[in-house]
Symmetry: C2
Subunit: 440 residues, 2 copies
């Protein structure tokens, strides 16, 4: 896609320039390790609790969490548009209802308070004690109430790999794939936060094409390496959001593991799409990194050929370079990294996904989650699912403990990590981890 700075809207340029919290020169009075995911330039939002206390809004920096409820109660967040209930909430939704500009102001204000050159909070040791939490002592919760969850299928390499595995390499991409950011509705009730173990699902499958279907546990349990984005409140039903407007409706991004039971999925999904092969659980990261914090990592996307229809055209760099990795950790032993990918490999970007999703008038709500689909890079070692890594079970991956994997075993923990990095700053997402327990 061409880079066309001159045609960027003046509003967008101005908005981006206003993100003073992104300044790579900023340093915090809170110690942050050099390889931390959470420097002062990041300031991702999440929901945490301590012991029996109620869950509330926090911001991560280094190994600490800033308690926004406490910060508000101490008067540090005056002159913003928020009220106590926005931070004393078990989900980010009330806060997010304030919209893009308000959230940008909030992040800038928190950045000021944590800046080594600012004494307001730094100089008040009593306040610091009630505001700063050790992250290792906190329980993290699902950060948003997700009204609707949509999963796209926007990585060309992934779609190509799946096409090769289930159809043929000469005809791997469906005819609509380069015209439409293909997506489908998923289940929001079963999206849970990183760290919660899940049981291997059971269901109906048809392992032998010549025999009737059988009931039993999934034997082809797989992860899908994805990124999700969380929306602000959209427009009313019947209205559309253009690619140009889309940034204003996207709050931030998170890691996302879209678990898939390939044997259940394979038998059920024609003609109406994935259902029980997916909806037993998906794991999302506890920290939502703002789209603002990711602005320095924008990159050009691939040339889209054939040319997309006008409602899918976009201006400027709308892809984001985010390094991604997946590791499998068998029980009581060290992990093995099985995939290194990058969010920049997406064919369709978030702006195109959101414009497509609303072109028919479909409304989006504050806290909706839209996931990328499996993100696979062009080379071996960059594939984002065991289906692709094991090439449909035809080859094994060696674990450091001497065992092998084609899919995920009971008691395995799958760990996903992601971070954007340039020569000045590293903006990370933490981890999404989940352990697989035996079938219930």
């Amino acid at each position: 896609m061409m880079k066309n700075i001159s045609s960027l809207s003046i509003l967008n340029l101005k908005n981006t320039m206003n993100i003073k919290a992104n300044n790579p020169a900023l340093k915090s009075w809170i110690e942050v390790a050099e390889n931390s995911d959470f420097p002062i330039q990041n300031l991702p939002f999440g929901i945490f609790s301590l012991g029996e206390e109620t869950a509330r809004v926090g911001v991560a920096i280094g190994t600490k969490i800033v308690d926004l409820k406490a910060l508000f109660e101490l008067g540090y967040l005056n002159d913003l548009s928020f009220e106590l209930a926005d931070f004393d909430a078990a989900v980010l939704n009330p806060m997010l209802l304030q919209g893009k500009e308000a959230m940008r102001d909030l992040r800038n204000r928190i950045s000021d308070l944590l800046n080594v050159e600012n004494q307001e909070l730094q100089g008040n040791s009593d306040a610091i004690e009630s505001v700063l939490i050790d992250a290792e002592n906190a329980d993290m919760h699902l950060p948003v109430y997700i009204g609707d969850y949509t999963d796209f299928y926007s990585s060309e390499q992934h779609a190509y790999n799946v096409g090769c595995l289930f159809r043929d390499p000469d005809n791997a991409l469906m005819p609509n794939w380069k015209h439409i950011p293909v997506g489908y509705h998923g289940r929001s009730s079963s999206i849970i936060v990183s760290g919660e173990p899940i049981h291997r699902p059971k269901g109906q499958k048809k392992p032998n094409p010549e025999e009737p279907p059988v009931f039993g546990q999934s034997n082809l349990l797989d992860f899908e390496l994805e990124m999700g984005f969380v929306t602000f409140q959209g427009k009313p039903l019947g209205d559309t959001i253009s690619t140009e407007e889309a940034d204003d409706f996207i709050f931030g991004m998170c890691l996302f593991n879209d678990w898939s039971a390939r044997d259940i999925q394979g038998w059920e999904y024609v003609p109406l799409g994935p259902f029980l092969g997916k909806n037993f659980a998906s794991h999302m990261g506890a920290w939502i990194v703002t789209l603002d914090a990711l602005e320095p990592f924008r990159v050009a996307g691939p040339v889209q050929n054939p040319k997309v229809l006008p409602y899918l055209e976009y201006k400027g760099d709308k892809h984001v370079a985010i390094n991604l990795e997946v590791a499998i950790q068998p029980e009581n032993t060290e992990e093995t990294v099985v995939a290194n990918s990058n969010y920049k490999y997406m064919y369709w970007n978030m702006n195109q996904q959101l414009a497509h999703h609303t072109i028919n008038g479909c409304n989006i709500n504050c806290g909706d989650l839209m996931a990328s689909g499996t993100i696979s890079g062009p080379k071996e070692g960059q594939f984002g699912s065991m289906l692709e890594i094991s090439w449909k079970g035809s080859k094994s991956v060696a674990m450091k403990d001497g065992t092998e994997r084609k899919f995920i075993n009971d008691h395995d923990t799958v760990i996903m990590r992601g971070y954007a990095q340039n020569d000045k700053t590293r903006i990370g997402f933490g981890e999404v981890t989940a352990k697989i327990l035996p079938v219930k």
Copy 2:
């Protein structure tokens, strides 16, 4: 399916016998016309408002709405497990969190208060004035907050018709169709209540197979005649609900129009299912008829051959006979009925749908909506979509005003109605109506 009364669980029999509000001999002191959808044996729940007042819970009887908030405030609903906030709510969800038994007790109590042999409310004209609303003066609202919406595909004739139209008659049903109650996740944000007009959607479609896709308004706008059911709070993630348990997790049913833009759907839906062809809007009925009120209309379902897997087996009569009709009303003229169908034509029943949906551990929440899929009967005239009625646009339906339809025109209003009836009682659902406005 065999009728096997002896194997019905004792609990279920006892529960059903306890539904004293179903007694066909009951008469109300409120006048109810003989052909009313809402006799004292029905008592469906909905959300209404009057003028500028806040929306709250009501129960329909004849042409009246009983204001449950007012009834509670006057002390008529003491000795039940509800509190004021359950009725002074803009959705039914808080009330439904009390569960099946509590809702049964509530309906029985309302039945008592409306019974001609009971003087408690009948004898208090001041109370009557604040409790009884003329339905024609009320605005009806979406009755539940829908966390997740699932659409099944459970009518054999519909699946067969679609298979004939898009594949071939000898191979019309997909191999999985008689083994799985096929379903997919839909969009909950765009489900709206009967009466709200919608705009014709626009989007990407491929009218000419030899040409690239184009952008424009949908020219193949269609209704789908469906019934939905609303759930109580389910079990935690990882647990399953059996066909035997399913009744205890189903609150009630409503009419449902699952609008479909066939041209958008046809181009987008392979391989991940319907998306923008559906999610521009769906209309649900304003009144939820309790599953209890429908117990007298249970009927045996079709013999399921091949035999289903054990987790999909069920005991007793779990289908429901509900007469359904669809009419099209061109602007400023009378309507023409274009379909007469019946919910009893379903191949898969609600118990099987819910057992299937949860067999992998997927959790359901209070207020989730599950729809049947288009309900088509075996004969012409009983098909539940214009796709089938016009046989993919190959024939027209004559309207009483002299015009013809293959699909839905701008300014048409589509009206769906449904009622269960035996020689003693008629339990109706009211109407789902929606007018199509031109593309926005």
